[in-house]
Subunit: 490 residues, 2 copies
């Protein structure tokens, strides 16, 4: 951690910034808070219009409000002060006599493992998932209330971040505020693939221990005091050993550079063609929103969150976030324009894919990956689609690659899981109309962020068309097939 | 669900109760809220005094405030209204043509799995852990925002509960507020053992899939509409099939009766010997606090939480909670009075327990279970203790049962994990003073409740005395031994 960062830190920890007087966004002066929120709402409206959406459509009418709330919640760390969290949470705890060893309030290593957090990537504005492990060595016969380690880590997670900086900031904040003999922080971070997952990649490059297929995983560490790895003490080794008990192996996931996959996008030169219709609020449904307008809108969001859009790491962020969103632009991704014209489906049929060529045979394709964007929160949801269908009259089946492109077409827009499930089923049913069954299993980022924080939750939806609606044996058999393909099923 | 319960429901959902006008405790009139909080604080002071604690001791001086906050947070569901949560979160989603099947906004099953919650047991006031799975079948071309299923479930979890009632209330609230074709709720609930875990039980009766050794697990279900298991539809079967994909098997964990282990305690007849010193606030450090005073104090807490202490299910709760607390009473559990007098340790030594009888040999005992009570929050923390030590001069080792009783002695009081770790190490070191190492791994209920909700987190602490403080090879070898004994270690 350089001198510059340390300086920024001291400032954050000591100064009474005007919007910093309490422990949460609630304490920000209401007028300023509302001003920022309505700026974000206006900016999100620009983004929706840039994506070809009708902002008055019932499903997304209140999306700008929801997104503004989510951003405020996800960056509340800017308005929190570590000192206030730690205050009053240092408790007396005796140590050992000098030389007797290490225990308790002097030298007794404390480690809290597996704290689930999420943060926002400063390079692309997408949330990333964090599993945080914190250790410290008490000194001065004082120990910290255990939950404070989690609360302090969360203050820095709830900002625009990058893994190494997040680890450094948590470490420095704990070191400065509780002044122990040392602090160790290890983070496992998962970032969604920027494009690969969208490009129907069935074999993601980085399958991870977190069960997040198609996510990039990296591990970073930060340490201070007695944890410094200069060989003078073995506290770092003890910290690593205690993490191993929980299956956390810091050596297995070397840091990835650059961490955010969007950093491989080349930034365009200066864009001078903004229509200027955003900042003054003159947006009507007729206004043509350019990419440049969208980028300006995201820069406004950054500013409203209390960030400096000209900070070096944030320069390209509005561009990158807009590129992410444009993956889900409505007009260019409707099935017909996407090489997924169902009327040409027959060319993707294969005969005799199954055991027999009978029309009674059920064909199935499991684990077709997808990544979509929740239209309520502009946040990704991702997972797999399982499809079963009765073959054509001569037992024809559909190529897996073509099913994948159907999934891709209906996934790549602002969506609902329920709607996507129905649309995929209807698309297949339109050519193979005896019976179709679609099961979609997904994780929703909006269920782990936004204060809900149900990290392990997952959502399943079903569509049953034609014969599958009544044939419980066919249905049960497909459920069985899916069960066998998952580790947990049985 | 009987007519009576339905009645109570309608009331909760419709009426504008005075302290019910917002979505959180913050909206309760400040004066009433503060009054309740200070009543709870006073009551907790009585409980601490009844446990033989010095309420002015620095570690527990603010415990009454922390406990009052935790209770308010843990029962905030009494002040929340389902209707306000669901409001505005029903979104349009097309269904299928009549007879074509089931999908989308008409008949398209939606299931959210693995929502982690916690609730408070109405029989004993201890928190219990809940894994909640909710399904519903949309109708009227309307789907509910997915996070609302979790938020509604949480409203009923954050009350004094019993698993079956919790499932019924979540189910009925969703059915009444969103009016779908049907709702299914399945809960896996884990309740800490009331006494067994404290009695050094190394082979808990109900090891559970949740990794909570020594916890009682039960599964309950509730359903409405098309999920009714009368054979007229297969939605229930589909719900069960989708849970199986995630390893949730409803048939494996039959309901336990009675659910709360404290229900096996026999309630005493009327207790008339309260000193009456609580309600009028005349508590001084000289006041003798009887068990009856403690029971009255808990009844006051129930009342302050908005509950009726005379409600049938709550009649014995104050008595049972006090019995739980009394397991951790200071005076009766100091090592000396607990059959764990260290001066008699020699009678628990065995010779030649290891490979050789050399004093250089390291002996170890792994996974000694314990359950303690966090002195900051009056909430349990539980886990295992690993002990290593150099044998006596003739290679003597300590019987496992005796080590377990040392662990028990230092666990069974209001404690800190850091202090317990040090105390166990010092106790062993006092008789085998060449070298002792103690590792304590614990889960803290105060880390999963109270708004922290870091469900998977765990805490590890170390004490290193004598030779272990400098002998990194001995230490590494013990870490290796522990790793081998856990499934995840490697």
């Amino acid at each position: 951690m350089g001198a510059l960062e340390r300086g920024r830190f001291a400032e954050e920890m000591m100064l009474d910034l005007t919007d910093c007087c309490g422990s949460g966004p609630e304490s920000e002066p209401a007028s300023a808070h509302n001003h920022h929120k309505s700026t974000i709402e206006r900016s999100v409206k620009v983004l929706l219009q840039g994506l070809g959406e009708d902002g008055e459509r019932e499903g997304i009418r209140r999306t700008p409000l929801r997104v503004a709330k989510a951003f405020a919640q996800g960056t509340r760390g800017y308005r929190q002060k570590v000192r206030e969290i730690v205050q009053g949470a240092l408790f007396p705890e005796a140590g050992l006599d000098n030389g007797a060893g290490y225990a308790g309030g002097d030298g007794g290593l404390v480690v809290v493992r597996d704290i689930d957090l999420f943060s926002y990537c400063e390079s692309c504005l997408l949330p990333f998932s964090v599993q945080c492990h914190v250790g410290y060595v008490p000194s001065g016969q004082r120990v910290l209330g255990l939950s404070k380690l989690s609360r302090v880590a969360d203050v820095f997670a709830k900002r625009l971040q990058e893994p190494q900086r997040l680890a450094n900031e948590i470490c420095a904040a704990l070191q400065n505020s509780i002044n122990p003999a040392g602090v160790a922080v290890a983070l496992n971070c998962w970032h969604i693939e920027f494009l690969a997952a969208l490009q129907c990649n069935p074999n993601p490059r980085h399958p991870s221990i977190h069960g997040m297929q198609g996510w990039l995983c990296t591990s970073v560490c930060s340490s201070s005091g007695v944890f410094k790895q200069d060989g003078s003490s073995s506290f770092w080794d003890d910290f690593v050993a205690l993490l191993k008990f929980r299956g956390v192996n810091l050596e297995l996931e070397p840091p990835i550079q650059p961490w955010c996959p969007s950093r491989s996008l080349e930034l365009p030169q200066c864009n001078g063609n903004s229509t200027g219709s955003i900042s003054n609020g003159r947006l009507s449904s007729k206004t043509v929103v350019t990419q440049s307008d969208m980028i300006s809108a995201v820069a406004l969001i950054l500013e409203s969150l209390g960030e400096d859009p000209l900070r070096e790491e944030l320069i390209g962020t509005p561009y990158r976030y807009v590129q992410w969103l444009l993956n889900f632009k409505r007009s260019i991704l409707e099935p017909k324009q996407n090489g997924c014209n169902l009327s040409g489906l027959s060319s993707h049929m294969r005969i005799g894919g199954g055991v027999s060529n009978s029309p009674d045979e059920i064909h199935s394709e499991l684990n077709l990956p997808f990544c979509s964007q929740c239209e309520h929160h502009l946040l990704p949801f991702y997972g797999v689609v399982h499809v079963a269908y009765f073959g054509g009259e001569e037992g024809e089946a559909i190529e897996r690659a073509f099913l994948q492109s159907i999934v891709h077409s209906y996934g790549c827009k602002l969506q609902l899981q329920e709607k996507m499930t129905r649309q995929i089923a209807e698309a297949i049913f339109s050519v193979l109309s005896k019976g179709v069954m679609v099961v979609v299993e997904a994780s929703h980022i909006c269920m782990i962020s936004r204060g809900i924080e149900k990290v392990g939750s997952s959502t399943a939806t079903i569509a049953l068309l034609g014969q599958f609606a009544n044939d419980s044996i066919a249905k049960a058999s497909f459920f069985q097939t899916i069960s066998k393909s998952t580790a947990l099923g049985g």
